[in-house]
Amino acid sequence: MEIFGVPTQALFGQLLIGLINGAFYAMLSLGLAVIFGLLNVINFTHGAQYMMGAFCAWFLLEKWGVGYWWALLLAPLTIGLTGVIIERTMLSRLYKLDHLYGLLLTFGLALIFQGVFTNFYGSSGLPYRLPEEFAGAFNLGFMFLPKYRAWVIVASVLICVSTWFVIERTKLGSYLRAATENPALVQAFGINVPRMITLTYGFGVALAAFAGVMAAPIYQVNPQMGANLIIVVFAVVVIGGMGSIMGAILTGFGLGIVEGLTKVFYPEASNTVIFVVMVLVLLVKPAGLFGKEK
């Protein structure tokens, strides 16, 4: 069977890969958007924190025999905690300055983390064993869907939707949104805004680490795994605009699929297609698809 001269097997295979990549774009750009909303900082360390999440899972398994499910909980907590420390000791000193300093600081931190890990583990990847329960695949009739890949898509949708729900539909989220609009006023109502900022950064970082654990069994655990990814995610963020949580999620998945389809029809452009989309969006709607011009 063929569609547009492409075997369906290949088409759906690439669509699936696109959807998986999209899941990671969505989770990472969601974390960036949450952090940016409250801190006005673009977290350049996000890619390194994603990498550290994967390494954390690898450590837990190799050194202490702690499995995937516990890693899914412990790695985000650990890396999130380091995020809290970074926010308290460094980022919080920069809020009164130009936002670009936050970008420069987190860029420096990303270099430090990536350098340290490359030093100890080289730049070749370390394999992470797939958990037993994910061995095998579902036969969908038109293609085979490996169980773990199905899980990645389901889990990332769950995480994204619950984050959206907490921010847009709960009391806690309403505080958060209010603090994004006017922190001084929210503070005057007796809400501890600095603590909220700290926890928000910690949460955004934990989200990156969570994505890292999810990525460990698919991609190899590699000190550089976040470095190039984060630049693509930046483009995703520019395309989506930072205005909305749902926007970040939809753009992430959408661009993953666009990238997957490009691999089928014009493989040479698959590395650059997201940047081309970014250029087009900048020409037509500079604020981004879901963004508001401030």
Partner: protein
């Protein structure tokens, strides 16, 4: 709120003149006094690159995180013209610089549509696109790069294969560009640019077309970065992917930040410091990345004015 505020404390023209003369004399004498000329040429190319970058961030308030694309592409264009087409070095360098200028127009038109943090992310993403293009395009020869580019004879007279001749040519290019940047910054155009950096709505309300000024600043910066890249390709007879990679974009940010954003001499001092550091630490492998990152963090947290900025502030305090 502006990212660089030190230029307000710039010492008077007499101090600047003395500093320029001292710098020129030191650079002219350096190879005679036994400093390795290849090291000096590398440092000068990066100093020019950082000065070009500083024109944008220090005086226009625009942080480009993708300036490596101009350095790298100019290098490729120059190396291709010199090696494949057999052009003389002056024509090849001009061609490389022109290529960077053309890219500056396109990238500038796109990037200045957004400001601040978005501007940084857009330039970074576009530079990454250029990187992937260079990785795949046939004329760049992928991972190998364009190797053994002939240095040739400048204007058919000066034999550039002689290292010392090459050095003084690089020095002349650097000084010309340096004075050109000084002139831009102190021209009416530079003043308007600073006004836009400090308060864009007010500058617009005074009748200045901010977009046009920012675009012109971007193109100038891209062109000069291209000049640095093209010169570098002739000096090292090589154009490679290293120069288009995002780490290079980060490096030029670091040089400027360390030396002092918005100061005339800052990028030069920053470039010489970082290049020497890399020279001495080259045996430490990946620790160089860690140290680079640590300098970033320290600069941002405690040393935002940079070396030259701190010196200028100290000078201003002493003058009362």
């Amino acid at each position: 709120m502006a990212i660089a505020t030190t230029s307000a404390a710039e010492p008077g023209p007499r101090v600047m003149l003395i500093a320029t003369v001292v710098m020129t004399v030191a650079l002219v004498l350096a190879p005679v006094l036994g400093v390795y000329p290849v090291f000096l040429m590398k440092a000068l190319c990066f100093a020019l690159f950082a000065c070009a970058f500083n024109l944008l961030i220090g005086f226009g308030g625009l942080l480009s995180f993708g300036h490596a694309m101009f350095l790298g592409m100019a290098g490729y264009a120059c190396a291709h013209a010199a090696k494949v087409w057999g052009w003389p070095p002056e024509a090849a360098i001009l061609f490389g610089t022109g290529a960077a200028a053309a890219m500056g127009v396109i990238v500038g038109l796109l990037a200045i549509r957004r400001q601040g943090i978005y501007f940084a992310m857009i330039t970074l993403a576009l530079a990454q696109m250029v990187f992937f293009f260079c990785l795949q395009a046939p004329f760049t020869h992928g991972e190998d790069g364009i190797q053994s580019v002939p240095r040739g004879k400048l204007f058919g007279v000066l034999d550039l294969t002689n290292t010392l001749v090459m050095y003084y040519v690089v020095l002349a290019i650097f000084l010309a560009a340096f004075l050109f940047i000084y002139r831009i910054v102190h021209s009416p155009f530079g003043q308007v640019l600073k006004a836009i950096r400090e308060n864009e709505p007010r500058a617009i309300s005074l009748g200045y077309d901010a977009e046009k000024y920012k675009l012109l600043a971007f193109i100038l910066s891209a062109t000069l970065a291209g000049l640095a890249g093209a010169t570098k390709a002739i000096v090292f007879q090589l154009a490679s992917l290293t120069d288009v990679h995002w780490t290079m974009s980060g490096e030029v940010v670091l040089m400027t930040l360390l030396g002092g954003m918005g100061t005339i001499f800052g990028p030069v001092v920053g470039a010489f410091t970082i290049i020497s550091l890399e020279n001495y630490l080259s045996t430490f492998g990946q620790w160089v990345t860690v140290i680079t990152g640590a300098i970033f963090v320290v600069c941002v947290l405690a040393f935002r004015r940079g070396i030259v900025g701190e010196l200028a502030a100290w000078w201003a305090r002493r003058q009362g």
